[in-house]
């Protein structure tokens, strides 16, 4: 009898999840149809579920507009952001946890101030900063700003993982003869790999989808994908379809990355998250 109830619960849960997944996916199906139809078909008052796919909009982006260049720029910025941001945040979280004082607590709290300010008002000072340092249209400034904007959340996230690692571990490593550096690289880092994976994923999403700062800080040389697609935001009906193709093109790599890293995501938060 108990296993019958179990089965029922499983079936009901599955049904519920399928419903949620459907709600999540249907808008993506819709934007794909808009991307693969002509404007006359895409915005028709009688929506056609079966139609002949047009690749024109994708061709416009990937062939005519040299999207590969922008894609490469996005990848460079994203990779650099991840490579710089995650280790920095991990070390910082570790240091602030072990330091254990009101000062480190205050530091942790004040980090969040950046996340409390409307980002568009920071455009001008960031631009002035970049312009004065002659760093406009370089990868450096964009990566720097993305890393700095991302640090607060990344540090707090890593803090959540590392806080479950008991101090005894450090002491055991010390007894075994490891200096501070070795303790970190040989003991702490391997155990927090899953957490690092999670932070990497959030950093990836943040920097890949970055638009506001990328718009004003990049020029022809370093323009990222999001900004390049932004060109199609409005003024022609055809642009709507091109824009839809842009959305589909931008999300495709994310899905690939996520499928690959999904294992890490679950394991990561699992190992680090809560107190048993």
């Amino acid at each position: 009898m108990n296993s019958d109830r179990h089965k029922l619960m499983r079936r009901a849960s599955l049904a519920g999840l399928i419903g949620v997944a459907a709600i999540s996916v249907i808008p993506f199906y819709y934007v794909f149809t808009i991307a693969s139809k002509t404007p006359a078909e895409a915005f028709s008052a009688s929506f056609q579920v079966f139609y002949k796919i047009t690749w024109d909009n994708f061709r416009q982006l990937w062939v005519d507009d040299n999207f590969l260049d922008y894609f490469v720029n996005s990848m460079i910025v994203t990779a650099a952001s991840m490579i710089v941001s995650v280790p920095l945040a991990t070390l910082a979280a570790y240091g602030l946890i072990r330091h254990e004082s009101r000062f480190s607590n205050r530091l942790l709290n004040s980090m969040l101030a950046l996340r409390m300010f409307p980002p568009m008002l920071l455009l001008i000072p960031y631009f002035l900063l970049a312009d004065t340092l002659h760093l406009t249209d370089t990868y450096t400034i964009l990566v720097l700003i993305i890393v700095a904007s991302n640090q607060p959340f990344a540090v707090w996230l890593m803090r959540g993982f590392l806080i479950t690692l008991p101090k005894e571990l450090d002491e055991a490593a010390r007894i075994d003869g490891c200096g501070l550096i070795k303790t970190v690289t040989h003991v702490i880092l391997p155990l927090s790999m899953p957490g690092i994976g999670t932070a990497a994923i959030f950093t990836f999403l943040l920097s890949y989808n970055e638009y506001l700062f990328a718009l004003v800080l990049t020029g022809k040389k370093t323009m990222t994908l999001t900004v390049a697609v932004g060109k199609y935001a409005a003024e022609e009906l055809i642009y709507w379809c091109t824009n839809a193709a842009g959305v589909v093109s931008i999300i495709a790599p994310i899905c690939v990355v996520m499928v690959l890293l999904q294992k890490w995501l679950v394991k990561g938060l699992t190992a680090g998250a809560v107190k048993g």
């Binding site: 404007p39 915005f43 008052a45 460079i76 455009l123 370089t138 450096t140 690289t185 323009m223 009906l237």
Partner: protein
Amino acid sequence: MKRITSAVAGFAVLITLTACGDEQPQTEGTNESAAPVTLHLLSHTYASLEYYAGQLEAKAPEGVTVEAEMTNYSDWQEKMRLNLASGSDSYDITYITPQDVAEFAANGWLEPLDDFVEKYRDEYDFDDIPEYLWEAYSYEGHIYGIPSHQWAMILFYRTDLFDESGLDVPETLGQLVDTAKSMTADGRSGITLTLAAADMLMVTYQSFLTATGGWFWDDAYKPQFSSEASLTAIDYIMDLYEYTPADSSTYTNNEAVVAMGQDLATMALLQTTRSSAMDDPEQSIVVGKVGFASAPSLTVGGPSAAIWNTAGYSIPKDSAQDKELIFRTIANATDKQSSAGGVESSMPCRESVLTEDLLDGRSDYAAAWKAIQSGATLRPTIPEFGEIMEISMTALSSVITGQAEARTAMEQVDKEVEAVLKDAGYYN
């Protein structure tokens, strides 16, 4: 583990070095004869602007390369403002409208072009461009931009449906409302308007205001949003709103084009830049069935319910390149030949291109030209107009969607706009 860490560190260093190595000087020497020069353009984008950007690239003088960066309007404005305000020399040519000329020139961000216009008047036949256009790009007596194209609001209508019903194309606003009402049938609205606050609604509001003979302020710059002319204009808009498709209060040009092109509306008040979409089978299912006429006026013979506007190019003052060279580049791209080639996507500025023949072949341009001659107005070019538009059109949007009453809302708008103009020193 150690190897991975050092590999990661090495990679990070490599990336940073590559990034730094990518910094190349944006502009090169100002030696106009010998060294190759790259001019950077930042521009808004739609069909006509893409055409003219192409012309800038194709017809650049010897030794000059033009690199075009195209974005959408609000991003262009944001980016250009930041660059101009910080004195950056990143851009040498910028897309410009009369409204932006006013703001930028008032801040001293644009290069005055009077001397160049004089010098090259004959070579490029600048007299071919009518005075009213040069004035649109002037601020305090100096010219700051070269016009490339223009447009006006006209009435789009379904020739087949009008033939069927036997109704005449409306010539007055009253007739427009009546026609919209009788043309509203199952699944099809009588008319579609662009009513999205603030920019598109201002286009529509100003059009009706032109027809009712009103203006935003009187000679002493006292706001007139609650004047009789303004309230009459608002009345007509609200009457027509009844016969527009649902969600019209958020309609921009694209939504209105869809409404017209998908057989969801019988008439539309739209710009000439959108007319070619009607006959493009990839964008419309009513190909060959859309005609164009001047927008109706309050009474027969009065000013058409239309605004006109124009776009061109300006030169940032802080550009490090030779200004005369940039001027010639722009002039090349807007000369008679380019203008004639651009006729497909927009109304030319040059009288020699805007011929009787052209007007015969393009009824939309003919309707627009008629409107311009009969008193279509240009959006005010004072720097404060952005704020005035925001205040007034947010209020008007509330009125249209039934959240506020017209007279009270507009009286409040008058008060707020008066405060803005007062702060800006208009009453001294």
